[in-house]
């Protein structure tokens, strides 16, 4: 990993460790305070533990033009970005992180082109609903590998992360802590529950916290909907299209709506946020990621509404194009933050329990 980001983050973290005023905002500062010297793995861990709430920037008496030039959110964002790139698999594809927006648009165009071509050139002679545009087996042939391969890539990248930060064996108790923290997004709570400083200078607001959770919940519901569909198809021989009161729809429609609202909101907040507190080169890719997620959910909902209409002919490949782009980009986009964040929370739970067991001796 290029060491200038690490060196800069280390310089700032050493000052924070002497100051500690931000200790109450998030989990990062208490973790910093367990050390005196910082190995590269420690800094990578802090970077992925940081939820980018930006509280510590606005509270800092040493921001530029002060000569200490503290900007912890930016320093950690740049380590974070680099760590994803360094841990990506296959390693050469990790370079995509530097050109994330371009990568997104290229993958998008290619996916759309392929899907439009398939739905017209390879349109099956028979089939019901969506399957009258593309046969079920063709869909499976495309989407299963393009879902599984990225998952494998993410798995390898998270393993690499876990090694880099010195993680040990995982206990249930750590999982419980990490999931609890994730569910409450307590690292975006500001420590007082009033939220983070993202879209309006030093004003605390829970907007980003709620919108993120809407996105996460929407995503999980959509994922569950797909799983339930698969189960119905293979387990019970019930084929799509499913009616409004079917399990896949009951999960998928609210999921899609939440995902739409969440991602639209996050994209809007992102346009309000101070770019000086993030990595400039990452902005486009992060925005592209949010918009692709938005596009996936929005086209999914429209497609559902248009069931039986001639427009499905265009809507289906459009939606599938978004889905395919999203899947393929999982390991090389902002989406990895979720996996790394979970790993960082697990590692933090482990570190805190090591610390308290040390103290009780």
């Amino acid at each position: 990993m290029p060491s200038d980001a690490i060196t800069e983050a280390r310089r700032q973290i050493q000052i924070c460790n002497a100051c500690r005023y931000c200790e109450g905002y998030c989990s990062v500062f208490p973790a910093i305070q367990m050390h005196r010297n910082f190995a590269e793995g420690d800094i990578v861990q802090f970077a992925n533990l940081c939820h980018d709430c930006r509280g510590c920037y606005h509270a800092c008496q040493y921001i530029a033009p002060h000569e200490f030039d503290i900007n912890v959110p930016r320093a950690l964002a740049s380590v974070r970005q680099q760590s994803w790139k360094a841990h990506a698999w296959p390693s050469c594809v990790g370079q995509l992180f530097d050109r994330s927006a371009l990568a997104f648009s290229s993958v998008m165009v290619v996916s759309l082109a392929i899907l439009f071509w398939l739905t017209t050139a390879m349109r099956p002679a028979s089939g019901e609903g969506f399957y009258s545009f593309m046969s079920h087996s063709l869909m499976v042939a495309i989407f299963v590998p393009s879902f599984l391969l990225p998952l494998i890539a993410v798995g390898i990248s998270v393993r690499r992360y876990w090694k880099a930060v010195g993680g040990g064996s995982i206990r249930w108790q750590y999982i419980a802590k990490a999931v609890n923290s994730l569910a409450r997004m307590d690292n975006l709570s500001g420590g007082h529950g009033e939220g983070c400083n993202f879209e309006d200078g030093d004003r605390f607001s829970n907007a980003r916290r709620w919108l993120h959770q809407a996105t996460l919940a929407g995503f999980l519901l959509c994922f569950a909907s797909t799983c339930s569909g698969t189960l119905l198809h293979y387990g019970f021989g019930m084929e799509a299209p499913y009616g409004f009161l079917s399990v896949p729809k009951l999960l998928g429609v609210p999921g899609g709506i939440l995902l739409c609202i969440g991602t639209a909101g996050l994209a809007w907040l992102k346009t309000k946020a101070d770019p000086n507190l993030g990595v400039a080169s990452a902005w486009g890719g992060e925005m592209a990621f949010i918009l692709v997620l938005f596009g996936t959910s929005a086209t999914g909902l429209i497609l559902f509404a248009a069931t039986g209409e001639p427009a499905v002919q265009f809507l289906l490949p459009l939606h599938l194009g978004f889905v395919l782009t999203f899947f393929l980009m999982i390991p090389y986009s902002k989406m990895v933050h979720g996996f790394h964040r979970l790993a960082a929370l697990l590692r933090n739970a482990e570190m805190m329990s090591e610390d308290s067991s040390l103290r009780s001796h």
């Binding site: 050493q14 002497a18 100051c19 005023y21 931000c22 109450g24």
Partner: protein
């Protein structure tokens, strides 16, 4: 600009945007006054020394928010008596202490959030309430509250002159974007801090040694308002030649180094001057009780510089500071890296090591591990400096605040020749000398600012309306 020129009404003009100024501005506005805040610094540096604070000392009859147990008026006053050696105005001090209790709720109502004590500050957990995010978070919260209430702010507005005539401030002149603008407020609150960043003034008071002092807080606290008022005959209090100074890392910036440049290594070190010679007992008492004497001790040494020397056994015993210590495999090389005479430092370390006695080293209490026949002695934690690597820090005096200030009444009103100026109030560091004649009690600066800021704001508004 509101209140500038004579065209628009301005009830209360507040000078400064630190804790005292903001509590005054909010209090005045809540009563209904039109309030304008003039701050010399640009917006990013608003909040003066308040940006560097982390807690305030709060009386409480029982568990209150993050504060456990109780901290009563008499215990609080006793603590103040001890640190000031009785150099305090009892009536004002008791007023401050009593009022501190209701500050907690008031601060919360105006956006301040508290947290349990920061790690490494357990000794203050019962007496001091810590601000979540520290002083700059507090300044941000107050500024938002004030702005939402309709208080106007002008940054980069340096107040140069208050026209005092017949016991009234008739006009306030400020330099804004290179031009002098005049304001004609009905009431004025001076909350512009001390003069420690005014090096020339410090030199007048201290002598040329003051050029080598570092200032821990804002470069904008230059005492311009204080000087202007003194020149027009207002009453002052406090010794102009006194300031609160601690020994900080010599590599710290000239201004605004704040909390991260402090060094807590002295009890586990020996401290030498630039000739490599020790000059004071490093183990006299527990560190929190001796923290504040080392600024003056170092200031009295040639070139106002000192060096703390310790070895690898002590490196983990104190809070880390912003800069890593200078490190070397031998005392000779350490001397060289610190710019000290090799022979002198080696001789001092050897002499010290030879006078250390066997015994149990207990870093968190007075362990009585004293040197034998060493002058000056080291009365506790005297353990040979012999385990490489060796470490050293350069020490300089870092000034926290000055004591000379405006003499105020219990209603925060400023006086000239014993009688009040009708429309001038003062709060915070600029009048803290009225209560704190010498010494310092952790967290008391913010308490004085909050109590008198609120009083000054209310009085100023009542006068204007």
């Amino acid at each position: 600009m509101p209140g500038s020129g004579s065209n628009k009404a301005l009830d209360v003009l507040v000078i400064g945007s630190g804790n005292a100024a903001l509590t005054a501005a909010i209090s005045a506005r809540e009563i209904g006054a039109e309030v304008l805040v003039l701050e010399a610094a640009p917006e990013v540096y608003r909040g003066g020394n308040t940006r560097h604070t982390r807690n305030f000392r709060c009386m409480h009859a029982g568990p209150t928010g993050v504060l456990p147990g109780e901290y009563g008026e008499n215990e609080y006053f006793g603590d103040l008596q001890r640190v000031t050696k009785g150099n305090t105005d009892e009536a004002l001090a008791r007023l401050t202490i009593r009022s501190s209790e209701e500050c907690y709720g008031w601060m919360q109502d105006h956006g301040i959030r508290f947290q349990p004590p920061l790690s490494g500050t357990l000794s203050l957990s019962r007496t001091n309430a810590f601000f979540l995010g520290g002083g700059r978070a507090l300044v941000n919260a107050y500024c938002r509250t004030a702005a939402n209430l309709g208080v106007q702010f002008v940054y980069g507005a340096l107040v140069r002159h208050l026209e005092l005539k017949d016991r009234r401030i008739l006009r306030v002149d400020a330099e804004i974007e290179g031009e002098t603008k005049s304001f004609f407020p009905r009431s004025v609150v001076a909350a512009s801090g001390g003069f420690q960043a005014n090096i020339d003034w410090m030199v007048d008071a201290w002598g040329p040694a003051a050029r080598n002092f570092l200032v821990r807080g804002s470069p904008y606290n230059r005492g311009i308002v204080l000087r202007n008022l003194i020149d027009q005959g207002v009453d002052t209090v406090g010794d102009p030649a006194q300031c609160h100074a601690v020994a900080i890392d010599g590599r710290a910036p000239k201004f605004d180094g704040g909390i991260v440049t402090r060094l807590d290594c002295i009890p586990f070190s020996i401290v030498v001057n630039k000739h490599g010679v020790r000059f004071h007992d490093e183990g006299e008492d527990l560190w929190p009780k001796r923290y504040a004497i080392w600024g003056r001790l170092v200031a009295a040494q040639p070139d106002q510089i000192g060096f703390a020397i310790f070895d690898s056994r002590s490196i983990e015993l104190f809070m880390p500071s912003a800069y890593p210590p200078v490190e070397a495999k031998s005392v000779e090389v350490l001397a060289m890296r610190l710019g000290l005479s090799k022979e002198a430092l080696v001789a001092t370390v050897e002499e010290f090591n030879n006078t250390c006695r066997p015994g149990t080293f207990r870093p968190t209490e007075l362990d009585g591990l004293a040197t034998e026949k060493l002058n000056p002695p080291k009365s506790n934690w005297a353990r040979p400096i012999s385990n490489p690597p060796f470490f050293g820090y350069e020490l300089r005096p870092g000034v926290t605040f000055t004591y000379l200030g405006l003499c105020v009444s219990a209603s925060a009103q400023v006086r000239a020749k014993g009688s009040p100026i009708e429309n001038l109030w003062a709060a915070g560091e600029i009048m803290a000398g009225s209560i704190l004649g010498e010494g310092y009690l952790a967290g008391f600066g913010m308490t004085i600012g909050t109590v008198f800021g609120r009083i000054a704001g209310c009085e100023a508004a009542a006068h204007a309306l």
